[in-house]
Amino acid sequence: MWPTFAIAIASLVALLVDLFAPAGPARRGIAVAIGILGLLAGGILTAQQYGHAFIAFSGAYSVGGFSVVFSEIAILGAILTLALGLGIGRDDQVAGTTALLLWSTVGAILMAGANNLMMVFLGLELLSLGLYCLCGISARSSAREAAMKYLILSSMASGFLLYGMALIFGADGSVQFSDLTVAPVNAMLLLGAGLFLVGIAFKLSLVPFHVWTPDVYEGAPLAVTAYMSVVTKAGALAVLARFAYAALPVQSANEILIPIWVLAALSMLVGNLAALAQTDLKRLLAYSGVAQVGYIVAAFAGQSALGLRYAIFYLAAYTFMNLGAFAVVAILSSGDGIIGIGQLAGLAQRRPWLAFALTFFLIGLAGLPPTAGFTGKVLILASSIGAGYAWLAGVLIVGTAISAYVYFKIIRIMFVRVDEAHVKPLAIVHNPLPWISVALCALAVFALGILPITPSDVLPLVK
């Protein structure tokens, strides 16, 4: 549990910054530094657990390959979020928001290691509670609206989840995932599993449970949007993976999960189709995120061990691509601003390097080489075909073809030559931290594309 302690302590220390540091930009720097250092410490401690499997809290929390990988992705997402936005909110808010962000990350880590239903719920609520506040941190009314919407809809999803857990417990008499594999399959268990999956699908924003996503993403501050697009999804994916692979009655797991594969297929299609019509960059990335999660869930189909590894690989790739794109947007929009894709017109003339970076991340999201998105997609295709879900692979290709319109629409706007006189100059952020994030993400996207390293030590998932 040391990683979670490290991050939790860092979050408490960050709260103290408001008391002791002088007001002004210095406070921002100190709070962000404490946050990043705490997360780095947590990341290093987590990495040391790779390969060691043990159980804590009388079976509630398991440490080992699987949870290590998801925790690292969550921690990475949190670090990049802090770096790309240089903290969230005004100077006098940064200490508080950093603390909330770290607590949410702790929640995601708990979800990654959750070994029974109670821990899933605990982690999920810890993750969500911080995010409700972070969404509404800005004074814009759209931010308040987003926070309210997120609070209400997300709480409802938690209700579904909790009700499903109660029914599962009623059917099985245990909250342990490992006991579920031998539970009797009856109506109560099926209903419980169904409600549980609805709750998870909501958190993952799989179609048709995605409608909250674009509004919340649009209203929330940019960095919070970036965080939600990666860390929330990583946490929920960890739970889904564990549930799909190791916590369903063995003989009927496939039938119970078929609706999830259908939702994944729908997400790939609907997410990309809806993204076509968007002109606001954050909304567009929200819908594209819906589709991207569809790709990842598709890799679980057939519950093959390779599929799990490739899902993790693609999640890591998606983390870097998405946060890289958000980092470029953050540099261009100086923090909180809402940026329409029209504002990117002629970016290649004015800021060729930023235009190239954004293009690189977008072609990665579109699944073109030489990026991790390309390699990841081929791996997922291969594992789906190998597991007997060729139809999902077909849908994935159709979805990708649609998504090409979405991403290349932006690339086209950046690269078509425009009259210099007609373009408003953009305010560029000059702090090195976001630039470093862009460079790191680009490097990671390229390196993972050439050398697709997938974690070998992720099974077994439950004890």
């Binding site: 699944g367 295709l381 290709i397 090409a404 078509v416 697709p452």
Partner: protein, 480 residues
């Protein structure tokens, strides 16, 4: 080593050019020319360079970074280097640093397509080569309809069509990998690939769609005329001359050895589409007034002929396809570059406005006439050898009707090529056309590799077939 350098060298140098200041146009252009020249020399002087292979993936299928020459690809890579060299030398383009960089990226990516011996790697470069063309069209596109009307539209169409093809290729590649267990198979006669009936049809469909879009085969050609018209001349020379061969190359090195049964099943369909393309392209070329569109449609016609050659499964026809691939690349490159000179001088591409330029521009007229004559299949130039071999092979293989159809566009080709030359160069001089200088010596020199290739290959086409053509032909022979 050499083969890897052919792929990575241009890409790395292309990216490095962006580090130069924008004003260093001459330096960037020079670097581009030197890289293309080195590529050409490396291909010429090291024809026996060995394969370079590094293990890549073990799961879900074996894959390797495996580059190497094959019997077809050696000549196509040489063609690519020569056309790129000519294209970069021939014409000045605004913002030369960025343009040269994109052209080098294109060169490297296309080298990757033709040198890849692993299907997955092939698919990677297949998708990669779209991007430079797309960016060149956005940044340097020549609007074809009105001053700014078509800008971006043709690029868009090019991208969407070819990306759809590329994604099908990717899916087929993944399925191939899962079914066979390895993708490191291109050019390996001992790969022992046996794709069953169940998967064979689907996998072939994916590959075939990608290849047909890229070639393009009628009815997937609608992206082509606009793309060729809007691309700036140096880029269109490379795309029309070499990128269009990627689909044919795919049919030969992937379709024939690994999916032979499915190729046989598709024979009738492909014959119909090939004949439709070669007739439609020829007649459409006859009706155009934009000089670039004439050549674009003529290309469609010639590519249809090559499709017939491949799907006849006749060894002679296949030899003809190899010769014609190279010949077509050479004369198409020369044609588009000559037309680029023409357009740069006269600021119009319309045959209704051009006329009588030959008197004042004898060297330009000379370049254009050689390219046009090779295009219409004049004996002694490379085009003739390829056409003759393909049609003989068709006849030999028992496809008499197809061989008769294949003769028709050759007649029409004479009509549209000579019309193009005659209208632009002969006849009374148009006084409203600006009077410009004839080709400078460097502009003329730029065409030398292409013209020399046309003559050499026309006189001695066997040079292509004796040493390197045998392997592929033997693969085909075993199918019959």
């Amino acid at each position: 080593m050499i083969v890897t350098a052919l792929v990575l060298g241009p890409i790395l140098i292309g990216l490095a050019l962006y580090a130069l200041p924008k004003s260093a146009e001459a330096l960037a252009r020079g670097a581009g020319i030197v890289v293309a020249m080195l590529a050409a020399l490396a291909v010429i002087f090291f024809p026996h360079a060995g394969d370079a292979s590094v293990h890549w993936l073990a799961r879900p299928f074996d894959a390797a970074f495996h580059f190497g020459y094959g019997p077809f690809s050696y000549w196509i890579v040489l063609l690519l280097a020569l056309v790129t060299l000519s294209a970069l030398t021939a014409l000045r383009v605004p913002r030369a640093r960025d343009f040269t960089a994109q052209m080098l990226l294109l060169l490297g990516a296309m080298d990757g397509v033709f040198l890849a011996k692993d299907l997955f790697l092939f698919a990677l470069f297949w998708d990669l080569m779209l991007l430079p063309v797309f960016l060149i069209m956005l940044g340097w596109g020549v609007p074809s309809h009105g001053p700014a009307g078509g800008r971006g539209t043709a690029a868009w169409r090019y991208l969407i069509y070819n990306l759809a093809g590329g994604l099908c290729l990717l899916l087929a590649t993944a399925a191939f990998g899962v079914v066979h267990g390895s993708t490191d198979v291109i050019g390996d006669p001992h790969a022992g690939v046996a794709i069953g009936e169940v998967w064979g049809g689907w996998i072939f469909a994916g590959f075939a769609f990608a290849f047909m879009v890229k070639t393009p085969v009628f009815p997937f050609h609608t992206w082509m005329p606009d793309t060729y018209t809007e691309l700036p001349p140096p880029a269109v020379a490379v795309v029309a001359a070499v990128q269009s061969k990627a689909g044919l190359y795919g049919f030969v090195v992937i379709g024939l050895p690994f999916l032979g049964a499915q190729m046989h099943d598709a024979q009738l369909l492909m014959f119909v589409l090939g004949i439709a393309g070669l007739l439609y392209g020829a007649f459409a070329a006859l009706a155009q007034t934009d000089v670039k569109r004439i050549v674009a449609y003529s290309s469609l016609s010639h590519l249809g002929l090559m499709v017939l050659g491949i799907f006849s499964f006749d060894p002679t026809a296949l030899k003809g396809v190899l010769v014609y691939i190279i010949a077509h690349g050479l004369f198409n490159g020369a044609l588009f570059l000559s037309l680029g000179y023409l357009e740069a001088r006269e600021e119009t591409r319309s045959l209704t406005r051009l006329g009588g330029l030959g008197a004042a521009n004898p060297r330009l007229a000379g370049a254009l006439v050689i390219a046009a004559l090779a295009g219409l299949g004049l004996p002694g130039l490379a085009g003739f050898a390829g056409e003759l071999l393909i049609i003989t092979g068709l006849y030999h293989g028992g496809f008499v009707v197809a061989s008769i159809f294949a003769l028709i566009p050759i007649v029409i080709a004479a009509a549209y090529m000579l019309r193009l030359y005659q209208t632009a160069m002969n006849g009374p001089q148009r006084l409203d056309l600006p009077q410009r200088k004839d080709l400078t010596w460097i502009e003329g020199l730029a065409l030398v590799p292409l013209v020399a290739g046309l003559v050499l290959l026309g006189v001695n086409p066997a040079a292509l077939l004796t040493s390197n053509g045998t392997e592929t032909v033997s693969v085909v022979s075993s199918l019959r």
